[in-house]
Symmetry: C2
Subunit: 368 residues, 2 copies
């Protein structure tokens, strides 16, 4: 099991489309998985069957970040199986922006789609969570997901000393680990039912790696500790209550490699019994694109201005939800604005060491 | 072949949800097709196969108007085939509102969805036009479409004396009839490829019926003649040019029953050769919900105010597009506003005979 560091600049923008820096990081992570996905296809010998070849992209968002990965899959299967119908099912939550997704995939934006380049491709979307069955039994050939399955199906409680399970201790940590294990098994069991025999999953998920690194915690200033310390300072200065501090607990869990692989290697586990087996796993770090850009332009204010909105995008609703409903809406908004502006000032005044390197486990799984 | 008149009030709102009057009319048309759809299912003997039962709703919009029809299908197939996976694929154009669709079907609105009531249902959406293959070959059991296939794939020219093909003469009419024939055959050939053997299509489309009636032309004031005469008056008073009059030609064609059925009954036709056969066809009139409501409340201003926006919803973009690009945007907007307000005044001042009764052909088709 090797840890490989990937620089954002190593990954070419093959699609030719425009991506923001935010999207760029997520796309780098997915593009880095392309060799693993292509290897999984080799293992499936797609020319051996004439039926529909179905792939899914679970947690697809608008489909832009995976567009070159999907293109690579479709081109490869098409080259091996000239006349097999190819079906790609994009899946995400009910409130995802599917209008944006279809516009991108059907070529109505500046992002170059694969749809005219590959013959016989059928595109569909599903708004069904990966905690439920998405596709009928035994109809999935290749399931893919990136940077999505760390979101738990439910919050197993609050964490008294931190905003994220990476900072949790003893019984609180155990509750998150348990929820993480159950959720992971639920996800895998549903996929086991969907997969055809010999079908593959390629799953790219936030993890805690062999050296204890995780998102935003790779040697510099720890991002989640910064989130936590600013939130604590809001208690100290009377901005928020102890209860509001406590309620800000992200419903996320970053699994270790062992936690990811156990259900696939333990003959007593339901997932193993359902036929899923680990093919390979490795952890990788993809550098924070904002910090990488800062090393080029060396402008702390520009770095802070570009970096904080991406942190805000996936944390704001949880921070907001933690504030008491007895506060006026405007007051809640003001606290949240002040929270992120505090973080931005901190980065601008002393940028060194800030950043959000991605730490992922890249796994390939086969259905026996 | 019988013509049956259906009153809006005959059709119960089984879903319990809220629908605007606009949506109500479209929903009445679809609910009226439920017996035909259920009969088509009987013909398929769904218990005879254990594979996925797939239905499509082509031109689904937000899925609200067909929700009780889809529920009726799923409940019936589930009752006959207890463990068959059921798949519903909603399809429309790229720029349809799929976010609204998924929110309705996944129960995130006040409209009651079938999703919790029927087990083993997989919901998907496709943004692929019915002028293209939507699903892989031989995977469709039941294809449904309502009030969508009168939109041509391209406008075969302008109509010199009218805004719609219902008013076209000689060569101009022939061009629309030819486009209508080709488009209909294209639609049916793609569906023939998608259908399994024994699969059915239930298609509900605007038509010209045996008595020459069509949408908004059922004995009272003809809606399309009114559209045309107001647009002509705008030429007469110098508001618009002759070219702008001419360019306002809706890319629609209302087929006759003979035009609908010919490709399914002529052994020399490609559609017939592809295995599609007519099971049954009848025309029906569903009363204009606005005019029906006016008969209750007798308030001409209220009638005009509620009726015109629905006409505007499906004609505005074509009227707007007919105006010269040399006019300022605001001027074009003002002309269009004045156009519909002229129509509204006309209805308010003399409401008798106005209305938009729906005239549809309801067809059932089987794949041999």
């Amino acid at each position: 099991m090797a840890t490989k560091s990937v620089h954002a600049d190593d990954v070419a923008m093959k699609g030719g489309g425009y991506y923001s820096l935010t999207t760029r990081g997520a796309k780098d992570v997915i593009d880095t998985a392309i060799p693993l996905v292509l290897k999984a296809i080799d293992g499936m010998a797609p020319a051996s069957d004439a039926g529909v070849f179905t792939m899914s992209d679970m947690g697809c968002a608008d489909g832009g970040t995976s567009i070159d990965m999907v293109r690579a899959v479709l081109e490869k299967v098409r080259a091996l199986a000239l006349s097999r119908p190819l079906q790609i099912v994009y899946t995400d939550q009910t409130f995802n922006d599917y209008n944006a997704l279809f516009r991108i995939i059907h070529g109505a934006t500046e992002i170059e789609s694969y749809l005219k380049a590959v013959e016989g491709v059928f595109v569909q979307a599903s708004a069904t969570s990966f905690y439920l069955p998405i596709l009928p039994p035994a109809t999935l050939n290749l399931g893919f997901s990136a940077t999505a399955m760390h979101w738990l199906s439910a919050k197993p409680g609050n964490i008294s000393n931190h905003v994220h399970a990476v900072g949790a201790k003893s019984a609180e940590l155990a509750a998150f680990a348990k929820q993480g294990r159950r959720d992971w098994e639920t996800i895998l069991l549903h996929r086991a039912a969907e997969l055809v025999s010999g079908g593959r999953l390629v799953l790219v998920n936030f993890c805690r790696d062999e050296q204890g690194r995780y998102l935003g915690h790779t040697g510099g200033i720890s991002m989640f500790d910064t989130f936590n310390s600013i939130w604590q300072s809001f208690v100290a200065d009377g901005t928020i209550s102890e209860d509001e501090y406590l309620d800000m607990t992200l419903p996320q869990y970053y699994r270790s490699v062992e936690e990811f692989t156990k259900p696939l290697e333990d003959p007593a586990n339901e997932v193993y019994k359902a036929g899923l087996r680990l093919e390979e796993v490795e952890t990788r770090i993809v550098q924070c694109p904002f910090a990488a850009e800062f090393r080029q332009h060396a402008d702390p204010a520009k770095f802070a201005r570009s970096y904080i909105p991406t942190l805000r995008s996936w944390t704001e609703s949880t921070f907001f939800g933690a504030l008491s409903g007895e506060r006026a809406l405007d007051e809640r908004r003001e606290i949240i604005d002040r929270y992120y502006s505090t973080y931005e000032t901190m980065v601008r005044d002393d940028p060194e060491g800030h950043g959000m390197d991605y730490v992922h486990a890249y796994m390939s799984v086969v259905k026996a």
